[in-house]
Symmetry: C2
Subunit: 478 residues, 2 copies
Amino acid sequence: MASIKNPATEALAPFEHMSKSDTILLRKRLVGESCKLFFRSDPLKIVRAEAQYMYDEQGRAYLDCINNVAHVGHCQPDVVAAASRQLAVLNTNNRFLHDNLVLCAQRITDLMPEPLSVCFFVNSGSEANDLALRLARAHTKHQDVITLDHAYHGHLSTLIEISPYKFRQIPNHKQADWVHVAPVPDVYRGKYRESEHPGEDMGALYAEDVRRLCEKATAGGGGVACYIAESLQSCGGQVVPPPNYLREVFRHVRAAGGVCICDEVQVGFGRVGSHWWAFQLQGEDIVPDIVTMGKPMGNGYPVAAVVTTRAVADSFRDTGVEYFNTYGGNPVSCAVANAVLQVIEDQKLLQHAQDVGDYLLARCRELQGRHSLIGDVRGVGLFVGIELVVDRTTREPATAEAQHVLSRMKDESILLSSDGPDRNVLKLKPPMVFSKQNVDTVIEVLDQVLAELADEHADLEPEHAHQTNGKTNGILAH
Amino acid sequence: MASIKNPATEALAPFEHMSKSDTILLRKRLVGESCKLFFRSDPLKIVRAEAQYMYDEQGRAYLDCINNVAHVGHCQPDVVAAASRQLAVLNTNNRFLHDNLVLCAQRITDLMPEPLSVCFFVNSGSEANDLALRLARAHTKHQDVITLDHAYHGHLSTLIEISPYKFRQIPNHKQADWVHVAPVPDVYRGKYRESEHPGEDMGALYAEDVRRLCEKATAGGGGVACYIAESLQSCGGQVVPPPNYLREVFRHVRAAGGVCICDEVQVGFGRVGSHWWAFQLQGEDIVPDIVTMGKPMGNGYPVAAVVTTRAVADSFRDTGVEYFNTYGGNPVSCAVANAVLQVIEDQKLLQHAQDVGDYLLARCRELQGRHSLIGDVRGVGLFVGIELVVDRTTREPATAEAQHVLSRMKDESILLSSDGPDRNVLKLKPPMVFSKQNVDTVIEVLDQVLAELADEHADLEPEHAHQTNGKTNGILAH
């Protein structure tokens, strides 16, 4: 404590215990540096939040376009009340019967297509995906996993192995022999581009790669335990797979004796607007064997789940190994999840996400018409990506420009982030209460920031051409 | 919902939404059967809890001797208030600066010996142990893990591999080649028994097996990444390692280039009474490289942590891979952890655990004097095991008798459980507010139940001798 000034000697904001500089100092000293801050050079200290707004220690409000965990809005009063009420009454493990758990299981399975009827409750999307792999392996008695390039499925050892988004960063990482990486079904920048395959069934084309990996896994002796993918790839760059993709993938994977896992941790619970789950965008006939869900489920409270079929759950039971998760499905986490579901229904947030999302996409496309830096606009509901490119023909990623945009948006009190392998895709995944007026604000500021960038480019051309790797750009250093 | 009766037609308890039979029905239908209930044939529906008491739907109170998660007592008011207050203000991820996180890191590292100064916050003990393995491997660049027989370190894929308690149950499970299983340092029933090695340094003897496994791991090419063990083995049967054990183990493991992980998920936060952490029982000079903690940390709220040295944390940072845990270290979980620590201090619960624990051990030993079924009594603070044996000489485990005792104790409104590979060790790990009066109640009832058992045995001897495997026993079927 020696270096921390006495809080009484400084003017602190409500909810503050120390000055921002002291928070930074302690964080640097006491928290692993692998845990990164947003806006590293000038991080934000957020002391309170409400709905789609976050407030720093000086009372400045930021419009939150990125916190998909605060699904029904930061500190939503019904959710807070449900948690607080239950915390005061009972919070114990699921080896005791409790109504909240079975009611939550009932609500969630009621939102799923028919054979998906059995729940396992866990604490995080990572725990959910890890359990999904255990279920798949127990059911198929196969070992191998087919995953997508640039995928991220969680921070656990086994999940890092199936997350190229992470493992490609590890020096000398040897891809596990049970992992097979399929191309991202990204028709804009992926292996097969719509522009180069006009009129083709892009879904079938991408699925064909999965079929080949199934053959390889079978020939290798591991067999296909599962295909796992986010229904819409998030960290991979806000990718919406082409029609027919999951239908064809599921067919190939099941023919090889594998099961199909849809990771809805980031995109579930109505974010896509037209449906509760993003896999449903691919057709009413698309039914995974296992669905994982997390982030939005507890609006910030750690609760997540795996939903599967009776057949898969029974195979897992038949291994004879009890599955015990200390907090999974406890009365508080289920009270919270039930409250979140109730708010989504009461406030008709699916319809809202569809309306606002459509408006957001339309306004982004308008911007695309004015700014050549925007190569692609894609998404569905309140899951939107704006891909920045240096050149629309070569599609060279505008990585540095994207980082500059984020920084400028923050100056203008708008929280945005970027993702994708080249970090050039601006991503919007705001709390579901995001309004059309919020969209107007974002578009207006983004328009202005992109115009500034275009001006700076125009001023400097042609002497300062872009670095070809798109990673550095002289102007942005200023 | 078809099969669920209208709640209005039945008399339901406060906090009940449906009758117990309907809860059971829905649970069976909608929750994976791998998730087991306590007292399967007649499970408990618990609707509220307070301090060391749990209440069923009929208002019946049970004395809770098993829920170590409810560390400072079920629904402890200060902890509930801290959670509720913070939930209403801000609950977001640790990419934003927040005082609760750094204050929590400071409190925890202040309770650790010197070089353990860097925290990572996660949601569960499982997530903590998985991260500990990632840290160990990143730091040592080795792969192999030395674990204890009967160990349980969590429900995740990688942790099942190092948990013989679980993997030995899986049909045809092939032990991973990077896993090495050392004998449990159990001087009562283990590989080396105190009775057979009078006067020997039992710690050094058991550690010698670890040394041999280090040699094997090194020769095999994987190298020793880490030794991981609970500081006191819980599921393995409430085992207290002999003096000098960790000192010798740490010496061997470090000589092989590995790091030492103490899993304090079940036994940390002052349960042992004399110290905050159970590894400290082995001496002030015993300093692990990584400590994991969980269950008691949030008193039921999902929060857990990994504490390590700057050197290990920096090795992990140097892999270049960000570690992001959605809820880990959020303002609510840290508010809760800080409140738990404050309650432990304010109520002097370490001293209390030591006083009540000493009394509990003394009274158990008194019982041991009267009941030959009790083969061993061991423990420290409020972590106690009573090992039941059919015969004190052969030490044949009294598994069926133990199950009978649990069932009879439940009839008498006392919640107890059993563990160990033979499920013959009655384990007590109650909320830390457990009183001497509670001890008297438990001892009195246990005395009576053991007397009944002895009477039944006496009545039936000699015609009905024990089954030699100790798994079935005619009388207990009645």
